[in-house]
């Protein structure tokens, strides 16, 4: 699904924030990503959701060598990736429902299905009473749930979540994690960057641990696959 080989990333002329990153995520896997603040979790996710090109190294995504993918091919690949941005990245002038609908509308889904589907998922994350609220009128945790609903709405092949439970209490965090688990059971490959130790303990998955720009893969305590 994803393969990194000796990938390095630097912003401008500064020293590399990611160094010699090599790992492979098999299709249908579920990983947490951990590391201190500033360790480079968001940067690594940005490489995965094709927001940045690496400064060096090889990235293979969905079997494609990313160095050879043209600009015109990117939208098709990106539509198969669901992203929960660390800062949510909701569009302020759109209602919760219209924000969640974006990926479906981009894919040209029928409008009636889109509305029904988005309503359902917003109910699921506990925002059934806020379908038409603008993000600015929602709390941080509510905005985060809208962002999560948007990332999973079109059942992506790859789901990348950057601190998806940073602004909610553990109860809601647990519920959101179950959403990702459900998606995972349907075959989606999931990577979740988080500081939340309780969640990591509750769900037994391997970690990608970042420390000072280097990556170490920590296997699950009870590995289900090799």
């Amino acid at each position: 699904m994803i393969r990194f080989e000796n990938v390095g990333l630097r912003y401008g002329t500064e020293s590399e924030v990611l160094r010699d990153i090599s790992f492979t995520l098999p299709p249908g896997s579920f990983h947490f990503m951990t590391g201190a603040s500033g360790a480079g979790k968001s940067s690594l996710l940005k490489l995965m959701y094709l927001a940045h090109r690496p400064s060096r190294g090889l990235i293979t995504l969905f079997g494609r060598d990313m160095a050879r993918v043209t600009r015109a091919e990117l939208p098709e690949m990106r539509r198969q990736i669901g992203v929960v941005f660390q800062d949510f990245a909701l569009l302020d002038h759109l209602s919760a429902l219209d924000n969640v609908a974006l990926p479906l509308r981009m894919g040209g889904a029928p409008e009636a299905d889109t509305v029904a589907h988005c309503t359902e998922i917003l109910r699921w994350v506990g925002l059934g009473n806020h379908l038409h609220a603008k993000p600015s009128t929602l709390s941080g945790g509510q905005q985060q749930r809208v962002a999560i609903a948007r990332s999973v709405i079109n059942r992506p092949r790859l789901l990348l979540a950057d601190e998806p439970t940073g602004n909610v209490d553990d109860g809601i965090g647990m519920r959101l994690l179950y959403l990702f688990e459900e998606l995972h059971k349907l075959g989606t490959t999931v990577v979740i960057a988080t500081h939340n130790e309780a969640l990591i303990r509750r769900f037994d998955h391997p970690h990608l641990h970042l420390d000072n720009g280097r990556l170490q893969v920590v296997p699950a305590r009870n590995p289900r696959w090799g």
Partner: protein, 297 residues
């Protein structure tokens, strides 16, 4: 479902951009000017056509009174000229206008005194042709048969008028072209400004898998809405201005201008101006967005 489609908000909050109102009003102004220029072009080419039809098949012979000169009286010279004319090949009919008809013809220039028998009035002969006429030869024969006769074949001033009408026509179309060019530039700048203002949203849409065409459609919908609205206002103003002008020209008495009027199809052509403006704006917006986005990494 139709309601949802109609109510579906744009992904880019373009409506609140400062350039939006500006684009609508500038379109109103441009459509107003373009419609007037186009109407002018149509009126002028209509006029030129009428001149052609009315005058091309005719000649006018004028015989001056020449008081005191040792020549035959005016009436005799008119008869002599008529004889020469009727014998000339290509001439269908030749009719002398009597003094009263000549006076009526000259009244707009000379006033009611044109009919004064004391005024030395020339006599006019109206000639209708039905084939090519040897104008220089006929002139020579006329001058020897009826001294003081001059032959006017309208060709010279008709050609002048035609050239003038052609120039006005071209100038009007040139103005329409220039207005179109200015409109294209306005849309280019407005769309570029929109892309710059909403850079982050565009980036986010791209990350979620939006194609450049998806982004450009947002801009296209936006500019079509604005230019249609502005264009309709401009068209209404232009129609009001034209209707007023045409009415005023018909009320002018003893008008030197021929009838000014637009046919129904010409009004319909004017109504197409806002549509053409919207179409042009849409193509420009698409082209601008695609070209700008293509240059992004």
């Amino acid at each position: 479902m139709a309601l949802f489609l109609l109510g579906r908000p744009s992904d880019l909050p373009l409506a609140k951009d400062p350039s939006s109102r500006f684009l609508a009003w500038i379109t109103a102004l441009m459509v107003f000017l373009a419609a007037l220029a186009l109407a002018g072009a149509m009126v002028v080419s209509d006029m030129a056509r009428r001149w052609d039809n009315g005058l091309a098949g005719g000649l006018t012979v004028q015989i001056a009174p020449l008081p005191g000169a040792p020549v035959a009286p005016l009436d005799e010279r008119v008869e002599a000229a008529l004889t020469v004319l009727r014998a000339a090949p290509g001439v269908r009919t030749a009719t002398a206008l009597d003094a009263a008809a000549t006076a009526r013809l000259l009244e707009p220039w000379l006033g009611p005194e044109a009919g004064d028998p004391l005024l030395p009035m020339p006599r006019l002969i109206d000639v209708a042709t039905d084939g090519p006429v040897d104008v220089p030869g006929l002139t020579l024969r006329l001058k020897s048969a009826a001294p003081g006769a001059t032959l006017d074949d309208h060709a010279v001033w008709l050609a002048d008028l035609r050239a003038f009408a052609g120039a006005v026509h071209l100038a009007a179309l040139g103005v329409v072209g220039l207005i179109g060019g200015a409109g294209v530039m306005t849309v280019v700048f407005s769309v570029r400004a929109g892309l710059a203002i909403h850079r982050h949203v565009v980036e986010l849409l791209h990350l979620m898998g939006a194609t450049d065409r998806y982004v450009s459609r947002q801009f296209e919908t936006h500019v079509v809405g604005l230019t249609l609205r502005g264009g309709l206002i401009g068209l209404l103003l232009a129609v009001a201005a034209l209707a007023g002008t045409l009415r005023a020209s018909q009320e002018l008495r003893a008008s030197l201008l021929p009838d000014l009027a637009l046919a129904p199809w010409q009004w319909a052509a004017l109504a197409l101006v806002p549509l053409a403006a919207a179409l042009l704006a849409r193509m420009t917006a698409r082209w601008t967005v695609l070209r700008t986005l293509e240059s992004l990494p």
